[in-house]
């Protein structure tokens, strides 16, 4: 019941917000905030909630509306609840009601994705989560092309996923398999490669990974800050989550076969993303390309076959979610004040806006992997895992972009906060307490996870017996 409510309540209540009058932006935001807070509380309190399952199809393969927490998905749902709460806090403008509503719908759809224990249900929510982001992009209306690019790229991936799911169902006889160790027999050689290709195509587009990333910088740049915080923090993890929960247990041999290719793509994303981030002028696009780089590292971990690297992947998934959400929220606050994101035009804000500067500094430090913060914990686990699993060279190459991260993150901070004050920039107020309230829990979680990643690591290590079956 509880897990069902985690999926349905945000969607239904989010849609119900549309019943409020069009102009009631404050009321809409307030209601959405209460809902988001309640859902966060529900996730915190009900971590042991039992599964719910309803039969959906019996032929040509069995499928069920089967939802439940798993060792990895619990953390992602918790992350999503926290980020959604923060994002709803910073929703503003005349379209606040609509954006807050779409954030809740998005949360429900992604909760469904992470809680799904059925591959077909996973595919359903995979496609469903496209809609709120597409509608927000259409409503934002900055560039008409962006919404199409987002939709078509991700839908093509979703259709490949759908075809692969149908084939998976036909071969396995059931899709109600996620988290069920008794059914991890593998798909077999004839179909396995094709099914894996379909899943991998969808996952790589969503993450995204080079060369499927071209939709991402534009989407991130055009989305309103609260929505891009959620998309970058959580939606981009859907593909990696898919590799961990569907790929590793059921398509293990295919994952090993695909390892050289995936390592190559991951390393190219890592290096390419870092260099582009160094050169970009638009602050949001810097963070977008830094995501490409960071997620490339997680892709290496996912395909390494090492349990330690899996644990690092989960820690880094959460860490990246926390600091990228914080970065986008703070950059949104900067953009709202100065009406530009151009790093060459901004400058010298730090002197008069110490709190804004502090928030950006903390988020940037987490992103560049400062020891003691969550990013470092994830990186060190992944690199150690890679090295121990015998992938010395990839680990060494992966070190370089991690160093570059310091350069581009500090460049963002420096260009916005330091330097002489620009007289043509409007002078606005410092970080408001509402914005501070949105960033504070994210930063606190970054510190907590950096100091004590053990509880998250334990989640993977406990399930390690079946996850580690790959190697």
């Amino acid at each position: 019941m509880i897990v069902g409510a985690l999926v349905l309540a945000p969607i239904v209540l989010g849609l119900a917000l549309y019943a409020l009058p069009h102009r009631a932006a404050r009321a809409g935001k307030g209601a959405a905030l209460v809902i988001a807070a309640l859902i966060f509380a529900l996730v915190c309190l009900e971590s042991q909630a039992p599964d719910v399952s309803l039969r959906w199809l019996s032929r040509p393969f069995a499928a069920a509306f089967h939802l439940g927490f798993g060792p990895i998905s619990y953390w992602l749902v918790l992350l999503l609840a926290l980020v959604t709460f923060s994002a709803v806090l910073v929703v503003r403008g005349p379209r606040a009601r609509g954006i807050a509503a779409q954030l809740l719908v998005l949360q429900g759809a992604m909760n469904g994705l992470f809680l799904a224990k059925d591959v077909l249900l996973f595919a359903l929510f995979w496609d469903l989560m496209l809609l709120p982001v597409f509608l927000v992009l259409v409503g934002a209306g900055t560039h008409g092309r962006t919404a199409w690019k987002y939709l078509l790229y991700n839908l093509v991936g979703g259709l490949a996923l759908l075809l692969a799911t149908a084939a998976f169902g036909i071969v396995a006889g059931t899709t109600d398999v996620i988290g069920n160790p008794a059914l991890q027999a593998g798909i077999g050689a004839t179909w396995g490669a094709w099914i894996f290709a379909g899943f991998a195509f969808a996952f790589l587009i969503k993450t995204p990974v080079f060369p499927f990333h071209t939709w991402m910088p534009e989407t991130y740049a055009d989305l309103p800050p609260p929505v891009v915080a959620v998309v970058s923090a959580v939606q981009s993890k859907a593909g990696l989550y898919g590799f961990l929960t569907i790929g590793v247990p059921f398509l293990g041999p295919e994952m090993v076969q695909a390892r050289p290719l995936m390592f190559a793509l991951g390393l190219v994303s890592l290096v390419y993303g870092a260099f582009v981030a160094l050169a970009e002028r638009d602050a949001k696009r810097v963070v977008a390309y830094s995501s490409l780089s960071h997620l490339g590292l997680i892709l290496l971990a996912v395909f390494s076959g090492s349990t330690l690297a899996y644990a690092g992947a989960l820690v880094y998934i959460i860490a990246h979610g926390l600091f990228s959400a914080a970065l986008f929220i703070v950059l949104g606050a900067v953009e709202q004040r100065e009406e530009t994101r151009d790093l060459l035009r901004l400058g010298g804000l730090g002197a008069r806006n110490p709190q804004l500067a502090g928030a950006l500094m903390l988020a940037a430090l987490a992103a560049l992997g400062l020891p003691g913060l969550a990013g470092f914990a994830g990186e060190i686990l992944i690199l150690t895992g890679l090295y121990r699993a015998g992938f010395g060279w990839p680990a060494v190459i992966a070190l370089l972009p991690i160093v570059l991260a310091a350069a581009y993150m500090l460049r963002v901070y420096q260009s916005i906060m330091n330097g002489p004050e620009h007289p043509d920039l409007p002078e606005r107020r410092d970080l408001t307490w509402v914005e501070g309230l949105a960033v504070a829990p994210l930063v606190a979680a970054v510190v907590w996870l950096g100091v004590d990643p053990a509880s998250v690591v334990a989640a993977v290590m406990a399930g390690g017996a079946h996850v580690a079956g790959v190697r």
Partner: protein, 480 residues
């Protein structure tokens, strides 16, 4: 002849004819009642529509009560059972929706006549859904088409006459193909019964006959490359008639095709004979969607989208599996609701029910009429095959059976077509949600509130069928 019909009772079983007779006789009541109503206005329309809906509901109830049983009439030429009942119910639902959309097509003094023609067309489609020999197929097809020729021409626009003429000529040609094919099949086997065809030896004459028969079917289903008439006819006909054609003509023809493919063709040769149809279905999915990309008139857009959607349904028949038939029926039911819902929304956006509704009319609809925009989004999302609709569930089931039957290439083409179609449908979604200056948008509203009922029912069914995909289980034995 009786051995050819297997276990079916021979003779006239009037129970089999009862639902179709109810639909076919209702027009007589309507025409008779209309004699006593000479005034103009709402009463005359209301009486005609009311009687028609009552007649259809009675037929639907009788039909539903017959579901567990099999009946046969005219020496096995007409078989009533699970298979044909599902098709007939779809026809009845679509006809009721058409009546709600139209509230009487044409001038007040024409309403009784047009309603009667609509019901006779519907009874033709019901005859096709139960037709088990070549003659009843032709009879049903002509009964369906004759009414539609008149209905296409009912409005005063010049495009209406063009549409009617085009439909008449091309549809007659299709009937010609079908009839010639039937004649050759009779010549090859000495029987017009589907069951007898299945037992016949394969001769060149048989192959030619079934080929011509299938060409006629492809014409009526508007599969590529026999689709060119569809957009023009849909554009010219009044919107409710277009909605009717887009579902009922396709349902009736699909019933004939399914029975022909499953029951009339010898199983060992069917896969070879039907290959061109699978290719046509594949072409329909791709070309139908590609052509829809360029359309801005809603009726033409939905015409091309319908071409592609029928391609998806036909793909489910590939390999003639029992499950394929069930999922084709499920998807057809879903398509009925999604498509009729979309037409009902379009109807609600035009004041006189007969205007051209183009894409610009949808600009900012979400901010003017949010409920209508929400419903339209659901229908379009469903047509595009996205959750949470029957479009998603139906498509995954079709993908699964098609792949399972060894037609993975067809499933691949289906995915390709769906990818293209996303742009078609989301073009409208985007128009509805984009922020525009509402002062520059024509905001027309229908004076007839009844389409709202159709929109509501279709929206609920589009969602509910996706979550509970009820598939009729006792379909297959009745084809054989």
């Amino acid at each position: 002849m009786s051995p050819a019909f297997g276990s079916f009772p021979v003779g006239a079983d009037y129970a089999a004819l009862l639902p179709m007779a109810a639909v076919a006789c209702t027009p007589l009541v309507i025409l008779f009642a209309d004699l006593f109503l000479t005034g103009g206005g709402g009463v005359r329309r209301g009486v005609a529509i009311g009687i028609a809906i009552v007649g259809l509901v009675i037929a639907g109830v009788i039909e539903a009560g017959q579901y567990p049983h099999d009946y046969a009439a005219f020496g096995g030429a007409f078989i009533e059972g699970g298979f044909s009942i599902v098709f007939s119910e779809i026809v009845i639902v679509a006809t009721v929706a058409t009546l709600l959309l139209s509230a009487g097509i044409g001038r007040t003094d024409q309403v009784a006549g047009t309603t009667a023609l609509l019901l006779w067309s519907a009874s033709g489609a019901m005859l096709m859904s139960g037709a088990a020999n070549l003659m009843t197929v032709f009879l049903g097809l002509e009964l369906l088409s004759l009414g539609l020729y008149c209905l296409c021409a009912i409005s005063a626009r010049s495009t209406a006459r063009e549409a009617a003429l085009k439909y008449l000529i091309l549809s007659s040609m299709a009937s010609g193909f079908l009839l010639y094919g039937s004649a050759l099949l009779f010549g090859a086997t000495g029987s017009v019964a589907f069951a007898a065809l299945a037992a016949a030896p394969m001769t060149p004459l048989f192959a030619l006959g079934s080929g011509l028969f299938l060409v006629g079917i492809a014409f009526k289903l508007s599969l590529v490359p026999f689709h060119a008439w569809t957009p023009d006819v849909y554009e010219g006909a009044p919107l409710p008639v277009t909605a009717f054609m887009s579902v009922v003509t396709k349902a009736g023809t699909l019933a004939v095709f399914a029975r022909f493919a499953y029951a009339a063709l010898p199983p060992d040769r069917a896969s070879a004979i039907l290959v061109p149809i699978w290719v046509a279905a594949a072409l329909s999915m791709v070309i139908g969607n590609l052509a829809a990309l360029a359309q801005t008139d809603m009726k033409r857009l939905l015409a091309y989208s319908g071409i592609a959607q029928v391609g998806y349904i036909v793909a489910a028949f590939a390999g003639q599996t029992a499950l394929g038939l069930r999922y084709a029926l499920l998807y057809l039911a879903g398509y009925t609701f999604m498509n009729l819902g979309a037409f009902a929304v379009v109807e609600l956006m035009s004041r006189d029910g007969d205007a051209v509704v183009g894409l610009p009319r949808f600009a900012g609809l979400a901010y003017r009429r949010p409920w209508l925009a929400a419903a339209m989004t659901l229908f379009l999302v469903g047509l595009a095959g996205l959750p949470p609709t029957i479009g998603f569930t139906g498509k995954i089931l079709i993908l699964a059976v098609t792949t399972g039957a060894g037609y993975a290439w067809l499933a691949g083409v289906l995915i390709l077509g769906t990818a293209i179609s996303a742009y078609v449908y989301f073009k409208i979604v985007r128009a509805m949600f984009v922020h525009v200056d509402l002062a520059h948008v024509r905001d027309e509203r229908s004076r007839n509130p009844l389409p709202w009922l159709a929109v509501a029912v279709c929206a609920v069914m589009t969602f509910a069928l996706g979550v509970f995909p009820l598939t009729p289980s006792n379909v297959l034995p009745l084809v054989k």
